[in-house]
Symmetry: D2
Subunit: 334 residues, 4 copies
């Protein structure tokens, strides 16, 4: 398939917050045209504008207002080249399976199949909402040898929990020191993302020798996850300047391929002492760049830093779209 | 001096937020009577109610409304047994020195002399706004051998910066990933607090073999500092249950002496998986207890947990008052 | 019945946020003893501590932890003298009716029967969460003749919506300019509260000649409703000073009867130009006082002012408890 | 002067938040080129990137980073066609006077000369941060006869107070019911904006017969002022539908002239019952549109509604820029 044809895209879970973000991003994307919108039976049959309580700060794109929402039955999605899933994990499992069995190319934010041995956790530029550690690890492994230990504490935005998600009584003038299931997910996913594939390319093989401790907090911030990271290298640690340069120079194949959603700069290294900050830095690179700041020696490990990622763009819908762009450019979507 | 006499107390910096907190706490304290209030030249000569923009959620105690504020000249404080300083660090140095030279017993929140070799960083029950790590360390050292490494990330309330302190534009829908000077202060103070004194009791000798890495963030919370801690023991680590029991059983001399401000329970160990939370737990023990929760194994070090402390009570004015109670009970205030 | 006997109290909806507030207040109240706790079938049969996710900043009273929660069947509440209902409006209708038919004295926060012709909207000291306008009206009517027109804009705290209530994504860095059903409720209730009773005392007769326009907003505040009010008097308006004095001198029968929950000062008149503020003033009078400030001439009507009321204490559970105290003192609870 | 020449613009107060907003907006504006940046003596002589703590969520435009900041002496601004002033009111008076005397065209946000008899409060599309009442009034006056009385309560964002502006301790979990000087300013300015000019065009003549009562609150919102308005017409009131249509059809000369900053839709009329909301609607029309919702009958006056305006764009820098565009198109800038 030529990578230049405009692809017809479906968005499943289109009325939810992740679905709404998909719609905002796709409506600005030259590679995709929104063709179909899927949601629950309750919404099916209604024009999108009527089925949806729009919660984005961008206005609802005119061209989706009158698209009639369908239920999530693959038989109804003929003509779609790509399916983006913003479904909630509680239903994503069965629905995505059905679409896969009908041979659709599915790009999902849901966590259901992320750790399945034969499902890749793709990283075209980016990966999860905890991306920069990964990029740092990759960059470091290539240049400085592997990282052996990571301790990370996150300060995560409420939009990560969807809508209605976090109750206001839980988060105004408050911190919630637990995000259920997030810590083991984060500790496991990073090993898979950084791992390899088996020699016959049939299964993923996670890293074995990296130890990660993640503590995840919910904070009263709308968008943008902040992470405070301390790293230990297995061997001789590089200098702080070498690390900064390595992060600044980090590029990815999606950029080289000219993918629309790939940011000009994958990792912004900030030299200002009080950055990154979610309200000021989350929209860097249209929400597709990571900002890393406060890179400095760690008195316990080798280096520590603070990173910021826009959790609903780079950490969710934006990454799925870039994955799809990458897959199309590479000819994986037939 | 008998410990049962009511002591006349002066509050320096009485119009500021720390000073206001001193006044609220002292007005409920049977051991002290507010005798004198000191502030800047601008306030001197005015009745307290007029000189002050009251910012506490408790009402201004009636009996201080008409006390005429004095300037901070020791000659004006005759009759005071104890001097509490809520002065800003920018002026605390000279003023506190003058009071000391006039032989007043000064209990200060200011950081100016904290690391001076001949000034104790006293811990009657408590110490600084980063107390529980200290208590955990002490408890652990006594029971399980020393802690070798600590990595801590803090989420600190805005009241820690005084008034006006943090600008609302910096903290609404935002995190500030730097608190200027806080990280080295925290990393150094913990060593002094846990250290010993020289054999002739003339100087403090900080711990040498504990390594601490602190990353400090400002978060949109009014009161209550949250800290996410990972610990490594030098030797064989105790079980999680042993650690919990050790923290629960932790007591201090100030409790035994019956100090009014000593909490019934120094450390509350929470078994709820999403606690401590600043809005819900900061007032435990009238703000003088620490709450520790999420005590669990750390995949990188031995144990990790989250703790909460009321930064302007246990972490500031309350600790100074308890120090003074303790000193009086022990006969150190003559 | 003697008013000095301790009354056995039941709390329905005990696991919700209004129910939790009832429990905190009743546990400090000398007139009532918590005897029974009622909630949904899902909670029935479990000890209270296990059935409840405690969300108060006060700790759960020890003596309720082990009370086994019952379902809301009147047959199970033998021995209860008073029933407090913190039930949600969706179930309060049927349940409260059943308790009334079983001849329990029910004090409810739910709105279901508030406007029924034969149900009083009682005002011992206080009434609804929009109390001070009422008190001002009553005070003014007595002293200055009736008020003819009121325009009020509210800024209401999220706790008014219960738990989970307002989603954090709706209120962080935001205002919601609608509280569904609140404006007509407020406009109608004030007429009933200020109205009279028919000559045979069988039905309430709302005021006819007062016009009220209420606009209700939800704001990112945890507790405390703020209201900006402009008033027009039917006749010659009193001076600003006369209004202030009238509000300051306002007392109620519940105070005279020595009801435990009646505040010393029903209405605090603040002379500070930037008060009342919810965080600083909501706890005045243990949450049972109203604070009124910024009383000044209105260029359009006669007078305007800003008032603050603690919506979950004076505006909800506290008012019900005071109603019950008042009813008991007056011998209405047999 | 041809309106198509790119004009050289200076920004005074360039390092402050209003100045930063000017720079963001001007860098995207085809009509102006940033030529000079002025600030206090402390900043003068430094490259802009070094002199400024950048607080915008947009990145600092590359082409201003190296512009050397000047002091605010008109002699240094040769070659500038237009001067935008984001100066603080404390210094704007003298500086703007000096620039005017040197015959610069000055477009200012400062309030110093707003009420001077010979200074117009220009309204190309928009006017102040309380614009929609004005537009409604104008639209209504033209179509329905004049408005006689307005009662408005505002919920204003913290960015309106500049930086550092509102202290976080004053606004987290809180409302501040006073914005010093704002109410009389608002009550007076609306009369001037809606007024006429004398027959010889030498002085402005404010409206005489409109009465306005404004109550202004600060709320924990970053950007976007919300206003709750009740209006009375002098004569027969129009229907709600007629009002909506009138607002929707409202256009202005700046649109007709094709000014770059004029929004496509001056007033967005929302039919959703819970809009406008600051976080969702402030960026409508790139921050240059007003959103009006909840238009409904008022039980006291004739109509009431809620409006939202982006206070630092339409309410400040954006309005000044549009004023300058309009003036240039009309040939007022020579």
């Amino acid at each position: 398939m030529s990578s230049n044809r405009v692809l017809n895209a479906a968005v499943l879970g289109a009325t939810g917050t992740v679905g709404q973000r998909f719609i905002v991003l796709l409506s600005q994307n030259p590679m995709f045209k929104i063709h179909s919108l899927g949601a629950s039976e309750r919404s099916a049959g209604k024009p999108y504008a009527q089925a949806t309580r729009w919660k984005m700060s961008e206005q609802m794109p005119e061209n989706v207002r009158n698209i009639v929402v369908k239920s999530c039955d693959p038989a109804l999605y003929e003509g779609c080249d790509v399916v983006f899933s913003g479904l909630d994990a509680s239903v994503a499992g069965d629905v995505e399976k059905a679409f896969l069995e009908s041979e659709f190319a599915v790009f999902s934010n849901a966590k259901n199949y992320r750790m399945a041995e034969d499902v890749p956790l793709c990283v075209p530029v980016v990966n999860t909402d905890h991306y920069a550690v990964v990029a740092a690890q990759r960059a470091a492994r290539d240049k400085f040898g592997p990282i052996s230990r990571v301790i990370v504490t996150t300060l995560q935005a409420v939009s990560g929990a969807g809508y209605p998600g976090v109750a206001s009584l839980d988060i105004l003038d408050n911190i919630v020191p637990l995000i259920s299931g997030e810590e083991p997910k984060m500790e496991a996913e990073v090993l898979k993302i950084l791992g390899g594939v088996s020699s016959d390319a049939s299964v993923c093989s996670p890293l074995q020798d990296l130890r990660v401790s993640a503590t995840c907090n919910r904070v009263p911030v709308v968008d943008g996850h902040t992470e405070c990271v301390s790293l230990e290298f297995a061997g001789e640690p590089p200098s702080i300047d070498a690390i900064k340069q390595c992060l600044r120079e980090y590029t990815c194949e999606a950029q080289d391929l000219g993918c629309f959603s790939a940011p000009a700069q994958v990792i912004n290294v900030s030299e200002e002492e009080d950055r990154p900050q979610p309200r000021l830095d989350r929209n860097a690179g249209a929400g597709m760049s990571v900002t890393v700041g406060r890179i400095r020696p760690c008195p316990v490990f080798h280096v520590r830093f603070t990173l910021l990622v826009h959790n609903t763009i780079l950490g969710a819908a934006g990454a799925s779209i870039l994955n799809a762009e990458y897959a199309a450019k590479k000819g994986y979507i037939v």
